[in-house]
C-alpha cells in the first residue's frame, strides 16, 4: 500500500515479481492482524502458529541484478563516482589510516554522544533475553554476528548486556570486519574484558557482501615484514564460511554506508539469519525534518570534522570522505525500503530516529515460515 509507491521510487529496477511477492507478504500479514489496511501492519501472533501462513518462500525468488556484487558497477565514494572494487580499495585505505585514532576521533566528532547511541542500540536489542524461547527461562543460547565490528564498541556492549545484565553466559559474539587493522585494534581492546566474555568472543575477517568466504583474524601488521599481507581481507585466502540460518542477531553499526553494494550485504544478512532472527543497523541518517538543526549539523560536519581530523589524526581526506559518505547514504525511508526488498519484515515505521535523525536504528526480522 504505502510501501509500493515508495519502493518503486527508491528502486526503479524492481520487477513486478518482487512487488507482487511483497504484496503477498502484506496480504498474509493483514489477514491475521486486525489493524486498518492503511497503516503498516505487523504480526501479533507467531507466524509459525498461523494456519494461513503464506508459502511464498517455498521457491526462492531470483536475486535482482543490483544485489549481485559487480566490481565494475559505478557507485559513490563520498562525492566521487567510482567502481565497486575501487570503492572497496579506497575505503580500506581510509580505515587503515584512521584505525589507531578511530575511537578518539569518534569522541571528538560527536562530543562523546556516539556512546549514548550505541548504549541505546544495544539496550533496545537486549541480547541474551529472548521471551519467545520455549520453556520458562527466557535466556536461551544466542549467536550474534557484529558486522563491520572494527574496534568492538557494539560487540563489547553486547557481551556485557548478555553476560552481566541478563546473566546469560550462552551468548556468543562473532566480531567481523573486512579491515584487518581495525579488527586488530578491536582485539587489543578486547584484552581488557573479563575472561568469560573474551571466551565468548571470536574474530572473523570477512566481506559482508559474501559471508561464504571468511577467515579468522590474522595478526596485523604482519610479524614478517616481507610477507604480502594487505591490511584488508582478500577473499582468495578464505578458509571458513558462515552457514545459512545460523545467526540469531545480525548487527552493523556505522559500517553499512561504507559497503560497495548494500543490497548484496542485506541479502547476505538474510541468508545467515535464522528464521525469526533480527537484523539491526545503526547508521547516520538524514536530519532534514529539523531544518535549522540540520543546517548547524551540516556546518559542523563539513567544516569542523575534517579540521579535527587534520589536527588529531593528521588525515583531513579520510574525514572528508566520512562526512561525504554520510551525505550520500539513503534516507530513513529509502533504507527501510531496501531492507524490505531484501525480504525482511519490519515493525511500525521500521526505523527509529536518534538525536533528531542524525543517527537512525533500522530493524528487520527474517520471517519464520
Amino acid at each position: 500500500m504505502a510501501a509500493r509507491p515508495a519502493l518503486t521510487r527508491a528502486l526503479p529496477h524492481l520487477t513486478s515479481t518482487v512487488l507482487s511477492r511483497s504484496s503477498q507478504y502484506q496480504t498474509s500479514l493483514r489477514s491475521i492482524s486486525s489493524l486498518s489496511p492503511l497503516s503498516r501492519t505487523f504480526s501479533t501472533t507467531l507466524p509459525s502458529l498461523d494456519a494461513n501462513a503464506s508459502t511464498s518462500t517455498s521457491s526462492k525468488p531470483p536475486t535482482p541484478d543490483y544485489a549481485i556484487p559487480d566490481p565494475s558497477r559505478p557507485t559513490h565514494f563520498g562525492f566521487q563516482t567510482v567502481t565497486e572494487s575501487e570503492k572497496r580499495e579506497k575505503v580500506a585505505r581510509v580505515f587503515t589510516s584512521v584505525a589507531e585514532a578511530y575511537d578518539r576521533m569518534n569522541d571528538l566528532m560527536s562530543f562523546g554522544w556516539h556512546r549514548v547511541w550505541k548504549d541505546h542500540f544495544v539496550r533496545t536489542l537486549n541480547p541474551g533475553f529472548s521471551p519467545l524461547t520455549a520453556g520458562p527461562d527466557p535466556r536461551g543460547p544466542q549467536q550474534i554476528l557484529d558486522i563491520a565490528g572494527g574496534t568492538g564498541d557494539i560487540a563489547f556492549r553486547m557481551l556485557h548486556t548478555a553476560h552481566v545484565v541478563n546473566r546469560n553466559p550462552d551468548v556468543r559474539v562473532i566480531m567481523s570486519d573486512i579491515n584487518r587493522a581495525m579488527l586488530t585494534v578491536g582485539k587489543h581492546r578486547s584484552e581488557s574484558l573479563p575472561a568469560s566474555q573474551q571466551a565468548a568472543l571470536s574474530f572473523l575477517e570477512a566481506n559482508a557482501e559474501d559471508l561464504t568466504k571468511a577467515r579468522p583474524l590474522v595478526p596485523y601488521p604482519p610479524a614478517d615484514p616481507a610477507s604480502e599481507e594487505k591490511p584488508f581481507f582478500d577473499p582468495t585466502t578464505a578458509t571458513t564460511s558462515i552457514p545459512d540460518n545460523s545467526i540469531d542477531l545480525y548487527t552493523v553499526a556505522f559500517g553499512i554506508r561504507n559497503f560497495s553494494n548494500i543490497p548484496a550485504a542485506l541479502r547476505e544478512a538474510y541468508r545467515v539469519l535464522k528464521p525469526g532472527g533480527v537484523f539491526a543497523c545503526l547508521e547516520f541518517s538524514k536530519a532534514d525534518k529539523h531544518p535549522l538543526f540540520n543546517a548547524v549539523y551540516k556546518e559542523w560536519s563539513f567544516r569542523a570534522i575534517p579540521l579535527i581530523g587534520q589536527l588529531v589524526a593528521a588525515d583531513r581526506d579520510s574525514y572528508q570522505y566520512l562526512v561525504e559518505s554520510i551525505e550520500r547514504f539513503p534516507s530513513q525511508e529509502e533504507f527501510r525500503d531496501m531492507i524490505l526488498d531484501a525480504g525482511f519484515v519490519i515493525a511500525g515505521e521500521g526505523y527509529e530516529d536518534l538525536t533528531g535523525g542524525v543517527a537512525a536504528i533500522h530493524k528487520g526480522m527474517k520471517p519464520r515460515t
Partner: protein
C-alpha cells in the same frame, strides 16, 4: 619588446569579504603589427566566497589538493595547529598547516613580490623547480669538491643523519602562485640549515626559525620562536645571548634567501654564496653543545670524586676514633 608590470598585491586595497587573490597584470606591447601600443588589462580571477549556510558549496579548487577555507576555518586551523605543534613539535604536518593558515593576508604576498622583484626569483617562479626525495643526486653531490654548496649540504645531511624528504604539499593557500612560493620555502628549509650550519635539534630549529623570520617575514617562523620557551634553561640562555642576536642581525642584513636558485648553485663555493647573501656563520651549535656536555660530565665526575674522598675521610676518622 614586452614590458611587464605587476603592482604588488599587498598594495592593492580590496573590499572586505573578497579573497585577496587579485592582482593586475599590465602588458605593454610595442612590437605589435596591428598598432603601436596595445594595453591589455587582464584581471586575475577573484575568488568570491559565497556567503551560504551550507558548507557543501565550497568554491572550486585552484590547484590539485587545494582546499579553500573560510575565515573562521582558517582561524581555527591556525589556533589549533599552533597550539598542538607547540605541544608536539614533531608534528611537521601541523607546522606546515600553521604556516599556510597564517600566511594570508599580506605575508605570503610580500614574499611572492620579493621573488618577483628579483631576476632569479622571477626565473624560479617561471621554472617552478621542485625539490623532492628523488630529485637530488646525493652521490654526485658527495663527489663535489669540498666547500661547494652541494657538498656542504650533503655533509650536513650525513652529520644530522637525515635525508631529503618530500615535503607535505601546500593545501590551504588560495592563490596558486603563492602556494608554490610556500612550497618552495618549505622544500628549501634543509638548504637554509646547511647554509648556516645549524643542527636539527630543537635549539637549532628555533634559531633557524628566528633567522627565517627576519628574512622572509612569514608569521609561522616568528611564532615558532616562542618554542624557545620549551628549551632547557641552558639552551634558552644560549639562544638569548648568542643565536637570537645572530639571527636578527643576519636575517635583516642578508638578501632574500627565497631567491636562491639552489639547483644552479650546487657547484658554487659556499663561502662565496654566504658572502654574496651577507650571511655570517653562527658559532657551531653541535660543538658548543658537545663542549658543554663534556664540561658538565667533568664537573660531575669531580664532585663525585670529592664526595667519595669526603666519605672515605669520614670513615677513616670514625675508625680512628673507635680505636
Amino acid at each position: 619588446m614586452e614590458v611587464v608590470f605587476r603592482r604588488p598585491a599587498a598594495a592593492i586595497s580590496r573590499p572586505k569579504g573578497l579573497k585577496p587573490a587579485a592582482s593586475v597584470l599590465v602588458t605593454v606591447s610595442t612590437s605589435s603589427p596591428l598598432s603601436q601600443s596595445q594595453l591589455q588589462l587582464q584581471l586575475q580571477p577573484q575568488q568570491r566566497r559565497p556567503f551560504t549556510f551550507s558548507s557543501l558549496t565550497r568554491p572550486p579548487p585552484n590547484y590539485p589538493g587545494h582546499v579553500p577555507l573560510s575565515f573562521i576555518e582558517k582561524a581555527a586551523l591556525a589556533i589549533g595547529s599552533g597550539l598542538m605543534s607547540l605541544r608536539d613539535p614533531r608534528r611537521g604536518d601541523l607546522i606546515a598547516a600553521f604556516a599556510e593558515a597564517t600566511a594570508t593576508p599580506y605575508f605570503i604576498y610580500r614574499l611572492r613580490d620579493a621573488m618577483l622583484s628579483h631576476p632569479t626569483g622571477r626565473r624560479i617562479l617561471r621554472d617552478r623547480p621542485r625539490i623532492t626525495s628523488t630529485s637530488l643526486n646525493l652521490p654526485h653531490l658527495r663527489s663535489l669538491p669540498p666547500n661547494t654548496v652541494g657538498r656542504t649540504y650533503v655533509e650536513w645531511l650525513d652529520r644530522e643523519h637525515v635525508s631529503p624528504d618530500t615535503r607535505a604539499p601546500v593545501r590551504y593557500i588560495d592563490d596558486e602562485e603563492c602556494a608554490y612560493v610556500m612550497q618552495r620555502y618549505r622544500e628549501c628549509h634543509d638548504f637554509y640549515h646547511a647554509l648556516v650550519g645549524l643542527p636539527t635539534v630543537r635549539e637549532g630549529e628555533v634559531a633557524l626559525k628566528a633567522f627565517e623570520f627576519c628574512n622572509t617575514l612569514l608569521p609561522m617562523t616568528g611564532l615558532s620562536v616562542f618554542a624557545a620557551g620549551t628549551l632547557k634553561p641552558r639552551e634558552r640562555k644560549r639562544f638569548w645571548e648568542v643565536y637570537l642576536p645572530w639571527a636578527v642581525r643576519n636575517g635583516l642584513r642578508a638578501k632574500e634567501i627565497i631567491n636562491v636558485y639552489w639547483e644552479e648553485e650546487l657547484e658554487r663555493d659556499v663561502n662565496d654564496l654566504r658572502a654574496e647573501l651577507g650571511i655570517e656563520m653562527p658559532p657551531d651549535m653541535r660543538e658548543l653543545r658537545r663542549r658543554e656536555r663534556e664540561e658538565r660530565r667533568r664537573r660531575k665526575a669531580e664532585e663525585e670524586e670529592a664526595r667519595r674522598m669526603a666519605a672515605m675521610e669520614a670513615a677513616k676518622a670514625a675508625q680512628g676514633q673507635r680505636q
